[in-house]
Each structure stands twice: as structure tokens, then as C-alpha cells.
């Protein structure tokens, strides 16, 4: 049998174990703090990377050129026929103007280098101007034309470094001296990049914009809102206020909870098999995208709407029934108006999730390269997140900047929608 411990020995042992236990305690707490910092840190890294990569895309380099609208090039026969004007060689005007600035470029190679300084989109700008106002022919104008994407990257100083730590410069030395001379002459400037907000997709980064994708997303969300909100609210009303306790209702409930957790790409498969192959709806149409997103957001809307209906106190229902309202009148005249803010909040959060969704849209052909801005829910379109995916895959380096900028725009939309939901909740939420 062990000797009973002396009080001093007990004290010593307890002290020793306490020190150990406090150390573990501190360590554990530190782990927790580190985890929180990691979580917040990831968010900070994500945002700084994207903003750091993307803010440059809101400005774009332009070159000021004196363009002579030479009738001999545009309309040699003087017919002023819009078809002739539309198909004229406007790139030639840009080339001529560049050669006047830098007459030393004589051989083919250096001329090609010279012409590569200005974006091929410059010709479209001139074409549009002439079509709008044929009286320009024969005049000379000082115009700012978009510079090529490589020039733009060079001017912004954001040429990426390659694996060996050397800048992967794709401009020749000659081109760089020309750029220096243009800058010195005040002919090269950074201006606000309106094309990015008003243009459709393009293979040329300096001509690509997000307006087409934004409009596609808008049409899709419109379809989703008009279908998912009424359907979701109606389903929630039935399940909360009318449904008898039966196996069918249990099945519906389990089903809704499960649908909310089904991977989004499976909804894309459904859309492809049912809407496109079975019903024969057109591929790449915002209508189909909206239908798929409706099915995806429906569970979210139903769950939020049910919570909103549940939060209306039974006394309201009993009072309505007590003064002789029918059950339907009680629901539509009293419960629904009180629950509506909560339902709207849920719908907005569902919409925000639908706006960020891209995987199911890949399945139904919304990844096509579409230059035109869509005009309706049936014209081919892409969506903002899919546009981000497409640009992220593009080989041109200038698309890195534009991808990040498009992400910033998408995140701004999401922020606005979520802020609206929070505002709605705080403004109309009632505690009973």
C-alpha cells in the first residue's frame, strides 16, 4: 500500500498538473484564434488578389491618331452606298495614319509590328462613325483609338513574369521605342474603359465587354424570379397552412430538403435531357437557363417562405377565423402580408445564389462564344459567371485582368442583392 501523500507533495503535484493544464488550455485557445484568422485571411487574400489583378481593366490605353477619311479608300466610286461604306477597308486608314507618324517603318516586318500597336477594333470605330455620318468622307479627324492588348499591358507595367523570373515581353524593341515616342508626344493615354461595360464578348481582350453576359444573366434571373417566387410561395402556403399530415406531405418535405443539397450540375443534366432534348427548346437560351435555375432555387425559396409563415403567430390566424374569414381568406388577407418580407428576403438570397451559379449552365450550351448582346429570353446568350469561366480559359494574357474585373462586377451585384435582403429583413422583420 502506498504511503499517503503529504500535503506539500499533493500541492506540488496539483501545481505541476495545473501548469500543464493551463498550457493546454492556452494552446487550444490559440488553435481556435489561428483558425479564425485563417478563415478571415483567406477572404482577404482572395479579395486582394482579385482586386489587384482586376482594377487595371477599368482603364484602357488609347492611341491618338490623325485619321484621314480618304474617299479613295472607303468609297472609290463615290456611290455613298451604305453597303459599300460598311465593307470598306477601314484598317487601311489606321495603317496610313500610323505610317505618317513613323515613316521609318519600311520593310514588311516592321510595318506589321507598327500596325500591331493599334487594336483591330479601331477599324470598327471608324466604320461606325462613317455609317452614322457619311459626310465625314474627305475630312481629317483626331481620334482616340483603342491600343492593342499587349501595348496596354506594357503601358500599365503589368506584363507577367515567366517561370525564369524574366518578363515575357511579346513586343519587339522597335515597338517599345515607338510606344515611348507615342507617350512622349501625348498620343498614348489611359482612359476609362467603356467598352468593358458596353461590349459583348470578343476574341480581342481590348474589345471584350461584359454587357452581353450581364444581359443574359438578367434575362435568366427574370425568368427565375417570375417562376420560382410564386411557385415557392404557393408550395410553402400549402405545406404550412393546408397540408394534412400524410405520407405524401412527408415525402414532399424530405424531397425539398434533399433537392436543396443535390449538386447543381445534376440540375444541368436534367435541363439538357428534359428542356432541350425532350421539349426541344433552343440551346444557349436564357429561358432554359432560367428554368434550370428555377428548379434549383425553388427549394431555397420554399424553405425560407415556410420559415416566414411559421413566424406569424397563431393568434393572427385565430382572430381572422374568429371574425368569420374562411381559411383561404385568413391566409391571403392576413398571414401572407405579414410573411411577405421574410419570403422576399429568401427569394433575393435564392436569386443571388442563382446569379453566381455556372455549372448547370455549361450543360445547356451557355458556354458558346457569343458576340452579340442578347435581345430577349430566347436569343443565344451567356451568363456573367460563365463569361468569367470562358475568359479564365482564354490564352490572351490581357484576359487575366478582365476576368478579375468581371469577378469584381459579379461580386458587386451579389453584394447589392445581399444588402437588399439584409435591409429588407431589418426594415420589415417583426418580433412577436
Amino acid at each position: 500500500m502506498a504511503e499517503p501523500l503529504t500535503p506539500a507533495e499533493t500541492r506540488r503535484r496539483v501545481d505541476a498538473s495545473l501548469r500543464r493544464r493551463y498550457r493546454t488550455e492556452k494552446l487550444f485557445r490559440l488553435y481556435g484564434l489561428v483558425s479564425v484568422l485563417l478563415g478571415v485571411g483567406f477572404l482577404v487574400i482572395l479579395f486582394t488578389t482579385i482586386i489587384g489583378n482586376g482594377y487595371g481593366a477599368f482603364r484602357q490605353s488609347f492611341v491618338r491618331l490623325e485619321i484621314q477619311f480618304d474617299p479613295a479608300v472607303i468609297d472609290p466610286e463615290g456611290s455613298r452606298n451604305p453597303e459599300v461604306l460598311a465593307s470598306a477597308d477601314y484598317a487601311q486608314l489606321v495603317k496610313t495614319s500610323l505610317r505618317q507618324l513613323f515613316p521609318e517603318a519600311e520593310d514588311r516586318a516592321s510595318r506589321r509590328d507598327l500596325n500591331a500597336l493599334v487594336s483591330s477594333g479601331g477599324a470598327y470605330v471608324l466604320q461606325k462613325m462613317v455609317l452614322a455620318d457619311p459626310a465625314l468622307l474627305g475630312q481629317t479627324r483626331d481620334l482616340w483609338l483603342p491600343a492593342d492588348d499587349e501595348v496596354d499591358l506594357f503601358v500599365k507595367g503589368s506584363v507577367p513574369t515567366g517561370p525564369e523570373g524574366v518578363q515575357e515581353q511579346r513586343l519587339s524593341d522597335q515597338q517599345i521605342t515607338w510606344i515611348g515616342r507615342l507617350e512622349a508626344a501625348g498620343r498614348l493615354e489611359q482612359r476609362f474603359n467603356t467598352t468593358f461595360f458596353t461590349g459583348g464578348d470578343s476574341r480581342e481582350p481590348e474589345l471584350a465587354g461584359i454587357w452581353g453576359a450581364t444581359k443574359g444573366s438578367f434575362f435568366m434571373l427574370l425568368v427565375t424570379l417570375f417562376l420560382a417566387f410564386p411557385l415557392g410561395v404557393a408550395a410553402a402556403i400549402y405545406l404550412e397552412e393546408f397540408a394534412p399530415r400524410s405520407w405524401l406531405v412527408d415525402v414532399i418535405e424530405v424531397n425539398i430538403n434533399n433537392l436543396a443539397a443535390v449538386p447543381s450540375i445534376v440540375f444541368g443534366l436534367l435541363g439538357l435531357a428534359v428542356f432541350i432534348n425532350f421539349f426541344g427548346l433552343p440551346r444557349s437560351a436564357p429561358l432554359v437557363g432560367g428554368l434550370v435555375l428555377t428548379l434549383m432555387t425553388l427549394p431555397v425559396v420554399i424553405i425560407a417562405s415556410r420559415a416566414a409563415i411559421k413566424s406569424v403567430p397563431p393568434s393572427v390566424r385565430e382572430a381572422a377565423l374568429g371574425v368569420g374569414a374562411s381559411q383561404m381568406q385568413m391566409v391571403f388577407h392576413h398571414v401572407l402580408p405579414l410573411a411577405l418580407p421574410g419570403m422576399l428576403t429568401g427569394a433575393i438570397i435564392g436569386m443571388a445564389r442563382a446569379l453566381g451559379e455556372s455549372a448547370p449552365l455549361l450543360m445547356i450550351g451557355m458556354v458558346a462564344f457569343i458576340v452579340e448582346v442578347p435581345s430577349g429570353a430566347l436569343s443565344p446568350a451567356t451568363a456573367l459567371p460563365v463569361q468569367i469561366y470562358l475568359w479564365a480559359d482564354s490564352p490572351e494574357r490581357a484576359f487575366v485582368e478582365r476576368t478579375s474585373a468581371a469577378i469584381m462586377v459579379l461580386l458587386a451585384f451579389l453584394l447589392v442583392m445581399n444588402a437588399a435582403a439584409v435591409w429588407l429583413r431589418n426594415r420589415f422583420e417583426r418580433r412577436w
Binding site: A234, L259, A359
Partner: protein, 461 residues
């Protein structure tokens, strides 16, 4: 008549029916306290307009579903024998040409004469169909209205009829969720069965090589694609495993710290910040993984003398883990807060420190809920698409090395289905078989998780 005009006419008729019905009710029942009506006058109006609108809509939908088939079969019957007896695919191409010609679009010049008669017939039939439809809808709506009108009496229970109609509509809306699940199950299973008719189930589930290229010519070398999905399952498990290894410890510790240690002020700041992390679209994470994380991992690997693939499983897994952190932390937060205060206080009363209480009392009590949360997170990781499409590879390597490139089920579904394919090659159908596997696996995980979470909740309620 155009469809929009028709719909406008139908709407106008419905509105007219409402006002007529209401006026009729007032006329037969009187107004004010002496009213002899069963329901409010507006319900008689609603009743009349429902009888006007619904029959018209039913006719419209039926017509939309069947008219094209009927017209097409009439056109096919009118074709000369040589064209009519073509194989199925050829025939549908011919019909397409005829439709285009009827719509006034360009068709191959040489065949224009051949199709002219058929196209003429097609446009005539379509015009006739439109005319019949318009007449039919207007007639049916009118008859419906007349029937409703004849039933309007003071004792008629108009409100009950209208409320029944609304209730049917509510039930129909709640059926959409069931129809969606059925639609997913049927469409995916149907295509998957067609796939398994060409590729045996055992080859798909247990085969070790995945190369879904099918040949254009039958005699081409390597014409038979290999559809062994084991490398895909392994790749999916590897990436999801990495993601969970990142997300579960960090998410759990965040939940513990926020609910047990953090001051309320910190909690108020950090919770919404983490919700922002959960609200970021997956395509943004994918971009971040491909553009920022993957190069960093490759450079670190190179500095350590390791050979890292540019699309390593590690990069995709890490970023996916970050995506799931808020998911794990908010679910764990809920279950940790659900542990009764009395258990904590009992533990403190016995002299346990906070961390000892958490490790020996709270976590064991909350374990079922946490396991449920982790299962839900796993199902989310397995089904996640954009991150792996953008940051994981395409080659189906069977490896457990996180530094190599692997591919996943979702990546293969996307690569097999993006772009134009014919719809009966095993290559496209394979995507649906993979989709079926994905759906079934995530469904099982979800059902188990929801069951575990629910049972746990009952325990402490």
C-alpha cells in the same frame, strides 16, 4: 393570328367575364345588408373568369403539344416515296430543310424545287392550324363563360368553388419539387440505361482505365473507348478528402472559438465575414485556384525538389476546402450551441478548464450533429464542379499522390457534354451514367446526414 394577340384576347375575355359575373351577382342578389348572396359579389366574378380562362388554356397547351406532330406527319405523308422511305435521321434532316424553306430561309438551291410543294403544304397547314386554334380557344372560352353564367344564382357557393381552384393550384405548386426529383431520376436513369446497354455495368464500375474517345470510323485504331470509372471515383475522393482535411479542423475550431471563447463583438464581426466566404460564386474560387494557388504550389514544390503537376489535386482540394469552411463552421456552430448549458456548468463545477470541457463534454455530446455536418460538407465537395473544372486536370490517373493531376466525376461530365455531340454515342451517354452515380451518392449522404442531425436534435429538445 399571332400567339401574343391570342393571349391578349384571352386575357381581355377573362377580365370581361369577371366584371360581367360580378355585375350579374349584384343584379340578382342586391347590395348592402339586404344582400341575399352566399358569397361576396367578387367571388362570382372570379368564378366566371376562371371558367373562361381555364378551358382556353387547356386547349392552348394541348394544341402546343400535339399540333406539330400532326402537321409533320401530314407533310411526311405528302412527300414522294423516295423521300418518305428514307432512314430516320435523313428524314428529320429533310423535314428541317422543309421547315427552313417554309420560314423563308436559305436552303440548298438544288433541292429547293424538290421541297417546294412540301414547304407550301407545311406553311398552309401551319396557317390553318393557327386559325383553327384561335377559333377554338375563343369558342371554348365563350362556352365556359356561358356555363358559369348559367350557374350564377344567389344561393350558389361561388367562394367555395374559387377556393377549391386556388387550393388545387397550391397543391400543384408543391408537386413541382417532387416532379423535379422524378425528372432528374427518370431522365438521368433513362440515358444511363442506354449507356449500360453499350457498356456493361461491371466495366463501368470496376474498370481501371477511362478514355472516352470514340472513333469516327469503325476500323480506326483504339476505336473502342474505355469507360472504367474507378480513376474518376478515386480522383473525386482524393480531392474531396483534401478539401475535408482542410475544412473540417479549421471550420470546427472556428465554431468552437466563436461560440466558447470569442467576445460577442468579435463574433458579430467574424460570422458575417465567413458568410461572405460562403456567398462567393464557385467560379471565382476556380479562377483563384487555377491562377493563384496552383502556381504557388508548383513553385513551393520546385523549391523543395518535388515534381508538382500544374493542375495538381492539392491546389483544387485546398481551395475547395476554403470554400467549405463556412459550411462546416456554421453547421457545427448550431450543434455546439444546442448542447444544454447545464452540461457545461456541471463540467466547470467539477473544476475542468474550458478546453477540457469542450474536448470531454461538449464535443462528445455534439458529435452526431458534427458528423452530420461533415457528411453534408462531403456531399457538397463531391458535387462541386467549377473549382475542379478550372483547377483539376483532365487525364484520368489512378493515383493517391496529391501532387499529381487527377480528374473527377464532375469534370468528366462537363468535358463530355460541353460542345455539340450526337446524342446516342456512348461518350455522351457516359456523362449521364456518371451523373446518376453522383446523384445517388450525394442523395445517400444527404439522407444519412439529415437523419443523423434530426435524431440528434430530438435528443436535447
Amino acid at each position: 393570328m399571332r400567339l401574343t394577340t391570342l393571349l391578349l384576347i384571352l386575357t381581355a375575355m377573362t377580365l370581361a367575364a369577371f366584371f360581367l359575373g360580378r355585375r350579374r351577382a349584384v343584379a340578382i342578389g342586391g347590395v348592402g345588408p339586404a344582400r341575399r348572396l352566399h358569397s361576396l359579389p367578387k367571388y362570382y366574378g372570379y368564378f366566371a373568369s376562371l371558367w373562361c380562362l381555364l378551358p382556353g388554356l387547356v386547349v392552348l397547351l394541348a394544341w402546343a403539344a400535339f399540333s406539330d406532330t400532326i402537321i409533320t406527319s401530314r407533310v411526311v405523308d405528302s412527300l414522294p416515296d423516295a423521300l418518305r422511305n428514307q432512314p430516320e435521321a435523313q428524314l428529320s434532316l429533310t423535314l428541317n430543310d422543309i421547315r427552313n424553306l417554309a420560314a423563308g430561309q436559305m436552303v440548298d438551291e438544288s433541292r429547293r424545287a424538290e421541297f417546294a410543294v412540301a414547304a407550301q403544304l407545311y406553311s398552309e397547314l401551319r396557317a390553318a392550324s393557327q386559325g383553327i386554334l384561335s377559333g377554338l380557344i375563343i369558342a371554348v372560352s365563350f362556352i365556359g363563360f356561358a356555363v358559369a353564367w348559367s350557374r350564377l344564382r344567389p344561393q350558389f357557393r361561388a367562394r367555395n368553388h374559387v377556393e377549391l381552384a386556388i387550393k388545387v393550384a397550391l397543391i400543384a405548386a408543391s408537386m413541382v419539387a417532387i416532379l423535379t426529383t422524378l425528372g432528374i431520376l427518370l431522365s438521368v436513369t433513362f440515358e444511363a440505361i442506354r449507356f449500360f446497354q453499350q457498356v456493361p455495368l461491371s466495366d463501368f464500375l470496376f474498370g481501371l482505365t477511362w478514355s472516352p474517345q470514340t472513333a469516327i470510323r469503325a476500323d480506326q485504331v483504339g476505336s473502342s473507348g474505355a469507360f472504367g470509372a474507378v480513376p474518376l471515383f478515386a480522383g473525386t475522393l482524393l480531392i474531396s478528402g483534401i478539401a475535408l482535411a482542410v475544412a473540417v479542423p479549421i471550420g470546427l475550431m472556428i465554431a468552437i472559438y466563436l461560440s466558447e471563447y470569442a467576445r460577442p463583438a468579435l463574433r458579430r464581426v467574424v460570422k458575417p465575414v465567413l458568410e461572405v466566404l460562403a456567398g462567393i460564386p464557385t467560379v471565382v474560387y476556380g479562377y483563384f485556384a487555377a491562377l493563384t494557388v496552383a502556381p504557388v504550389i508548383r513553385e513551393v514544390g520546385a523549391a523543395l525538389g518535388l515534381d508538382v503537376a500544374s493542375e495538381s489535386a492539392l491546389g483544387a482540394g485546398l481551395v475547395m476546402g476554403v470554400m467549405i469552411i463556412p459550411f462546416v463552421s456554421s453547421l457545427s456552430d448550431d450543434v455546439i450551441n444546442a448542447v444544454p448549458r447545464a452540461m457545461r456548468e456541471g463540467s466547470y463545477g467539477l473544476g475542468a478548464t474550458k478546453s477540457e470541457t469542450i474536448k470531454r463534454v461538449i464535443l462528445p455530446a455534439a458529435l452526431p450533429g458534427i458528423v452530420g455536418g461533415v457528411l453534408l460538407a462531403a456531399s457538397r465537395a463531391i458535387g462541386e464542379t467549377m473549382i475542379v473544372v478550372m483547377a483539376a486536370g483532365l487525364s484520368a490517373n489512378l493515383t493517391a499522390n496529391p501532387l499529381e493531376s487527377v480528374t473527377t466525376v464532375t469534370v468528366q461530365i462537363v468535358t463530355l457534354l460541353v460542345g455539340d455531340q450526337e446524342f446516342d454515342s456512348p461518350k455522351t451517354l457516359a456523362a449521364f451514367a456518371l451523373g446518376l452515380v453522383l446523384f445517388v451518392v450525394t442523395l445517400i449522404l444527404n439522407i444519412i446526414a439529415l437523419q443523423v442531425v434530426r435524431r440528434y436534435r430530438e435528443q436535447y429538445d
